[in-house]
């Protein structure tokens, strides 16, 4: 599958490595592609990376994502699965950029012909592509309006090592709000366990 990953930070590079290793055709998109030629991945401009792809992944800083996507334009994103991993946070990680809303909801509203799926934003990039490194089962969430786009996303999560049992569909794109709002508890837990390399597992009643 042709995957365009917008953003060359820790998240974009980790996902590029994971999906390249699974055999996908990955193109990273950067605002300054010439300055990113040493990453070991193909890097193009944001618009080129989006236009190239069947699946577009947003790994740009969440507070800037909407502005960057508007510059790319709706036509390069129309009809595509758009996996949004972004969360908008203040520089000190104590405030959300989209409180009582979510970046994903706002992207879906701005690009109605694109199928937005929120996932992977509740964990560190080190966990996204190495779920087996943790000590026991844990959970990745999916939110989105399109069943087909969520199925495509589920397959791409499987390609990173996420078993079907570890993937939890929590509903339409409005539930992305919960995934993004978790960022503040993520920071608290990270302080409590003194590492960012953890995840949460949903534990149900004994059967």
């Amino acid at each position: 599958m042709r995957i365009g990953i917008l953003g060359t930070g820790n998240v974009g590079r980790a996902l590029a490595a994971g999906w390249s290793a699974a055999g996908h055709d990955v193109l990273l998109g950067s605002r300054q592609p010439k300055d990113r030629s040493d990453l070991g991945f193909a890097v193009a401009g944001l618009g080129e990376a989006a236009g190239h792809a069947e699946v577009v992944v947003n790994a740009t800083p969440g507070a800037a994502s909407l502005h960057l996507l508007e510059a790319i334009g709706a036509s390069a994103l129309a009809g595509k699965t758009f996996i949004d991993v972004g969360v908008g946070l203040s520089d000190d990680f104590t405030e959300l950029s989209h409180p009582n809303s979510s970046l994903s909801e706002q992207i879906q509203r701005a690009f109605p012909e694109t199928s937005v799926v929120k996932t992977l934003c509740t964990m560190d990039s080190s966990v996204m592509t190495q779920p087996d490194a943790l000590d026991g089962p844990h959970t990745v969430f999916l939110s989105g309006n399109s069943a087909e786009a969520k199925q495509t996303t589920a397959q791409l999560l499987s390609d990173l090592g996420w078993s079907p049992a570890s993937q939890l569909d929590i509903g339409d794109i409005t539930t992305a709000r919960g995934q993004e709002h978790f960022a503040l508890l993520f920071m608290g837990i990270a302080g409590g366990v003194n590492t960012h390399t953890f995840n949460i597992h949903v534990v149900e009643r004994k059967r």
Copy 2:
């Protein structure tokens, strides 16, 4: 220990049952104590329940809590451990009453002589007092500025069945923000697993 629980909803009643069973002296506080005489617990007015107690527990609706506490007044709460379980949510559970802030931070600011501890607000009342009913280990969080108040709270959590290993201190009262913001992901997960009887477990790296 003399515990005053403000609020007679599901949370207040569940905690009253749990701590009564553990041998504590529990007094529930209600805005309409005469209408709550059939609960099977001692019920007084909010101010009386707070004044009676060594430890005060807030289980009133989070959007109304600050107003109710101001009516009780600072002197009834001064010098006490105040366990805040409240989360302010809109009637449809999609918006926080204290976005990019938290009820606990605002209570701590309004009552500086009271030691506020946030805990238990990340789960359903059915889980608060029966942690063993879930299928595997899971986590309860503590946030607060006072180490002594957190120690008192930790003991009271143990009395409900929470092992020391299940309790995670995530920092000062500003980290209550994360616990409260989790409410939106809680609602999403509840939709995904089709029950409110679940909790999350923090899973770290293999050792």
